[in-house]
Structures are given as structure tokens and as C-alpha cells.
């Protein structure tokens, strides 16, 4: 079974989020990039578990410039067989998805996995877009995934609960909490990652459908209003008269 895992870089969760160039660009100054946690913890680790159980090959793909090789090596250290980098700056979700779909079309995969969203753009778009481009079924926010022969059984989030579904391969799924547990790379994995194949491919000619034209950081919250624990009537009155939420 051939599995393609789409990864994206994301700023470390402790990074200061600031913008530069008249608030039109993310300020990368001092930012450490990591593998987007949902791509790593859920999609990649589940792909590795499936490979360990059923055999096969796990390929990582990302769309980004040469600087992203460091992030790809981090993902390879966790255990994938090889990696592909589409050598271009990802401009929007559509552009990114079409680059990945191009590669997937040419190389044929049974399973394409993404994280449920990135922690920087939170769009939850790329998986569905790849599925449409490849005319494959798409199971979003999957919390479980098992393969038997050529059939996948998945659990996915639905409003207020979960649903168990059955789909024939090939398919695309976005992976959410429950799918797998985080794996910490060991020294052997880190050493092996250095020599695993990383293929750089030229981007396809694709336009962007959207552009981020500016950013804002929310105004800092005014200081918390403290209420005496003995005086819950006051809290209720503030929630009613001042905050107007009850």
C-alpha cells in the first residue's frame, strides 16, 4: 500500500505571532518552525502504524522553499520512507492542493492523509481540494482509520458525535484527535532521516484563488474584573447588565 502524507510547516506553538511590512506578512523573526502538529501526530503516525501492520510505503510531501528541508527531515526522523518537496512558495490552499494533487496523480497512492488543519491558517481546505482534484472520496476529521484489503473503515466527527463509515480505496482523509499518539523521534530515526531520499520537484503552473492581503492582532483584553466568590449575585448582575449575555 502506498500512502502519501501531506505536511506543512507551522510556527512552534509558543511563537510570538506578529506581522511585518505594514501588517501584510507574518514576522518570521525568531520563529522556530515545526511540522504542523496535526500532520505529524495524527496523519504521519497513523500512516506509519498502517505500514507497520500491513506493509507498504509512506511518502511525505510538502510544498515549500529549500528552507523547509529542515522541517521535512524532522518528519522523516519520525519514520517515513521518503519525502518530496514541491519547490515553490505556497500561496494559498488551492495552489498548494493542486501541486500535491499533480504529484499524487502521476505517482498513484492508495491513501492520502492530511492533518485536520494547520495551526497557522486553520483553513482545513487542502485535503478536500486534493480529493476533488483526484476524484477520490474524502473523509474529513477522521478520528480512526483501519484498512482491510482495499477497504477503509473510518470514524469521523459529525455534529454532536461521531460516525463510522466504510470507503473503498483510494481515498483522502484529514486526521483529527484520536487517530494516533504522538511519537518522539529517537536518535536512530534522526540519523536515518539525514540520508533518506528527498526528491525536489518543479511546481506545476497553477494560479491562486485567494490572497491574504493583511493581518491584525486582536486588541489586548482589558484587565479581568474580579468578583468576590461570596458575591455571585454581582457576577450575575454584571453578566446581565454589563455583558448582556444572560
Amino acid at each position: 500500500m502506498k500512502i502519501l502524507v501531506c505536511i506543512s510547516k507551522a510556527p512552534d506553538t509558543t511563537s510570538k505571532i506578529a506581522f511585518t511590512n505594514g501588517n501584510t506578512e507574518f514576522d518570521e523573526n525568531g520563529v522556530q518552525y515545526i511540522v504542523n502538529p496535526y500532520d505529524e501526530w495524527y496523519a504521519l503516525v497513523r500512516a506509519l502504524e498502517l505500514k507497520e501492520a500491513n506493509g507498504g510505503n509512506v511518502t511525505i510531501i510538502t510544498v515549500g522553499p529549500a528552507a523547509d528541508d529542515a522541517v521535512i527531515r524532522k518528519a522523516l526522523a519520525i519514520g517515513a520512507d521518503d519525502a518530496v518537496r514541491v519547490d515553490t512558495e505556497p500561496t494559498d490552499a488551492y495552489f498548494t492542493a493542486m501541486q500535491i494533487a499533480e504529484y499524487a496523480k502521476a505517482n498513484g497512492f492508495d491513501l492520502v492523509l492530511t492533518g485536520k488543519e494547520t495551526i497557522n491558517y486553520n483553513g482545513s481546505q487542502v485535503g478536500g481540494m486534493i480529493a476533488e482534484a483526484l476524484d477520490m472520496p474524502y473523509v474529513s476529521l477522521a478520528t480512526k482509520l483501519d484498512i482491510e484489503g482495499t477497504t477503509a473503515t473510518l470514524e469521523r466527527e459529525v455534529t454532536g458525535g461521531v460516525q463510522v463509515v466504510k470507503v473503498d480505496l483510494p481515498l483522502v482523509a484529514s486526521c483529527a484527535k484520536g487517530m494516533a499518539e504522538q511519537r518522539i523521534p529517537n536518535m536512530r530515526g534522526i540519523m536515518a532521516a539525514r540520508t533518506k531520499p528527498l526528491t525536489v520537484v518543479a511546481p506545476a503552473s497553477v494560479e491562486s484563488l485567494t490572497t491574504f492581503v493583511g493581518y491584525d492582532t486582536p486588541a489586548p483584553k482589558s484587565a479581568v474584573k474580579l468578583i468576590d466568590p461570596e458575591n455571585m449575585d454581582e457576577l450575575v448582575s454584571l453578566l446581565h447588565n454589563e455583558a448582556k449575555v444572560i
Binding site: N120, E132, S140, T159, L209, T210, K221
Partner: protein, 312 residues
């Protein structure tokens, strides 16, 4: 012309009214839905601005590709330039597919109306910032975050038309759906009462549920509490769980780690109850109570009961 797709599997819920209201502010709205809701229950969408409701009862929301094909077909028929969804779990699967199918730019998770220059704000960096997105294509797709705008009544009931969309069969076979009965879905709730490890054990959740019941609120929890199985996973709010934006979020015994805040920082008003005055959550709170949840929650419950009694 604006086409809105609504998931009405749980009835005509508030987020559906928000999306119709949103569409009406852009242009003439046709509302499209699937599933088995009775036609008589759909006419009310006219009051919020729909000129017509179309229901395809032959299609269910099981396979996002079917919905994508149906929405694309109807959009073509009515000449819709803008397609709006509520940013629910179905839209998260359908809208990206539709974006590719129609080559229409997608604004995922809009929090406000489209501006005159065609841009719209969305949350980015897990709520730590806002981004302004511009769509480069002629057709636009927007998924609206729940509780971003208020539904507005502008008209009267409208006609409901039944169609057979004739889309290809579902490639996703549903084996089982597990939805707990009688609870308010978290994503729909305007009031949420949430608790964390500070409650010390699942047996102490009675006071959380009591307060939620008095308020008419949904219950939620922090990640550690879901991870150790004190509460079901679907109650977990935060970066890895559900992101919510209710009008009121009451958090008891939750320290307010950055990952938790990412799931709740869209709440309009946050009340934090914690014994530790240094808990980071107080920095993100509007109102704070430094005290023991075991004493504060029952007192708050009594105070709200009293308030409700005097207001009725």
C-alpha cells in the same frame, strides 16, 4: 444571486438562520438543503431572507462529493456568484471540494460580512490573529463561523421546492452514527459551562451539569479531562478539540493553557473560576472569581436561579 447550502439534519438551527441572513445582505438568496426534514419546517427561512428553499431529499450529507455536485449543479442553474455555508463539519468537507470544482476562491471561516472591496476577515494562527482574505476568482465561496452575525427577520415564509438532484451514488457508506441524545451540540451553544482537572474527578461534574441546566447551556471540558476519560471526547474544547465561540464561556478549574485558549478565544464573554490567582486564564477572562469551584459553582447556580425567578 447567492446560493446558501444548509445542513438541516438537526432541524433549522441558528447557524442556518445566520447563513441565510448573511446571504441576504449580499444579494437575492436561494437556500438549498438535503435530507429528510419536512418541507413545512423550511418555509421559515423566507423570513430571514431566502426567496426560495430547495430540498433534495434523495441526497444525504454522507458523502461530501455528492453535496459538492449538487451545490455546483444548483449554483449553475440559478447563476449564483456567491455560495455561503455555515462553517460546520459538512462544509469543512464540501466547500474545499466545491472550490476546486468551480475554481472559486474559498474564504474559510469568515467572521464578518464581505467588505465592499471583496475582502473578508478570518481567524488565523488559532485565534491569535485575524487575516484579511481577498478572493481572486469571479465566484466566491464563504464558510461563516457560527455566532459571527445575528439572524435578522426581513420577510415572510417562502416557497419550498422539492427536487431530485440526480447526483451520483455515495461512495461513503455510513455504518453507524453515535450522537448522544438530548444534548445541545457545543458548536451551536450560545452559553457554555466548562470544567477541567480542578474538579478532581468525574463524580463531581454534577454541579457543572446543574449550572448548565439552569442556564440552558452546553457542557464542555479541557483536554486532560477528556484524555483521562472523565468526560466524552466530543466535549473537549481547545486546539485539538472543538473550537467554539459562544456568547458566554464559564470555565471552572481550567488553568487556561495556550492550547485551550485557542479553542475558546472567540467567545464574547469569558468567566474564569480558579483557586489560583496566577492561573493564565485570568489574563484572557472578562470576569474572574478567585475561589474554589466546589463552592463557587453551586453559589453561582443559586444566584442564576434567583435571577431567572425574578425576571420571569
Amino acid at each position: 444571486m447567492v446560493l446558501v447550502y444548509l445542513n438541516t439534519d438537526h432541524g433549522v438551527i441558528k447557524s442556518a438562520l445566520e447563513v441565510v441572513t448573511y446571504g441576504k445582505k449580499i444579494g437575492e438568496v436561494v437556500a438549498l438543503t438535503t435530507g429528510s426534514l419536512d418541507e413545512s419546517k423550511l418555509a421559515v427561512l423566507g423570513q430571514y431572507g431566502a426567496s426560495k428553499v430547495i430540498i433534495d431529499s434523495t441526497t444525504k450529507a454522507d458523502d461530501p462529493q455528492q453535496i459538492t455536485n449538487l451545490v455546483a449543479k444548483v449554483a449553475e442553474q440559478i447563476g449564483a456568484k456567491t455560495i455561503v455555508f455555515s462553517n460546520d463539519l459538512i462544509a469543512k468537507a464540501v466547500a474545499p471540494r466545491l472550490s476546486v470544482k468551480l475554481k472559486a476562491g474559498l474564504i474559510a471561516g469568515a467572521v464578518e460580512m464581505l467588505a465592499a472591496d471583496g475582502t473578508c476577515k478570518v481567524n488565523v494562527f488559532s485565534g491569535k490573529a485575524m487575516g484579511k482574505v481577498k478572493v481572486n476568482s469571479e465566484r466566491k465561496i464563504i464558510t461563516l463561523l457560527p455566532n459571527s452575525i445575528q439572524p435578522e427577520i426581513t420577510g415572510a415564509d417562502c416557497a419550498v421546492e422539492k427536487i431530485d438532484g440526480g447526483v451520483d451514488a455515495s461512495r461513503i457508506k455510513v455504518l453507524e452514527t453515535k450522537i448522544p441524545e438530548g444534548e445541545i451540540p457545543l458548536s451551536e451553544a450560545e452559553l457554555v459551562v466548562s470544567a477541567g482537572r480542578g474538579l478532581k474527578g468525574p463524580e463531581n461534574w454534577g454541579m457543572v451539569e446543574e449550572l448548565a441546566k439552569t442556564l440552558g447551556a452546553a457542557t464542555a471540558c479541557s483536554r486532560p479531562v477528556a484524555d483521562i476519560g472523565w468526560r466524552p471526547d466530543h466535549e473537549h474544547v481547545g486546539q485539538t478539540g472543538v473550537a467554539i465561540r459562544p456568547n458566554l464561556y464559564i470555565a471552572a478549574g481550567i488553568s487556561g493553557a495556550i492550547q485551550h485558549l485557542a479553542g475558546v478565544n472567540g467567545s464574547k464573554v469569558i468567566v474564569v473560576i480558579n483557586t489560583d490567582p496566577e492561573a493564565p486564564f485570568f489574563k484572557a477572562a472578562d470576569y474572574g472569581v478567585v475561589g474554589d469551584a466546589f463552592e463557587v459553582l453551586p453559589k453561582l447556580n443559586e444566584a442564576i436561579k434567583k435571577f431567572k425567578a425574578s425576571n420571569n
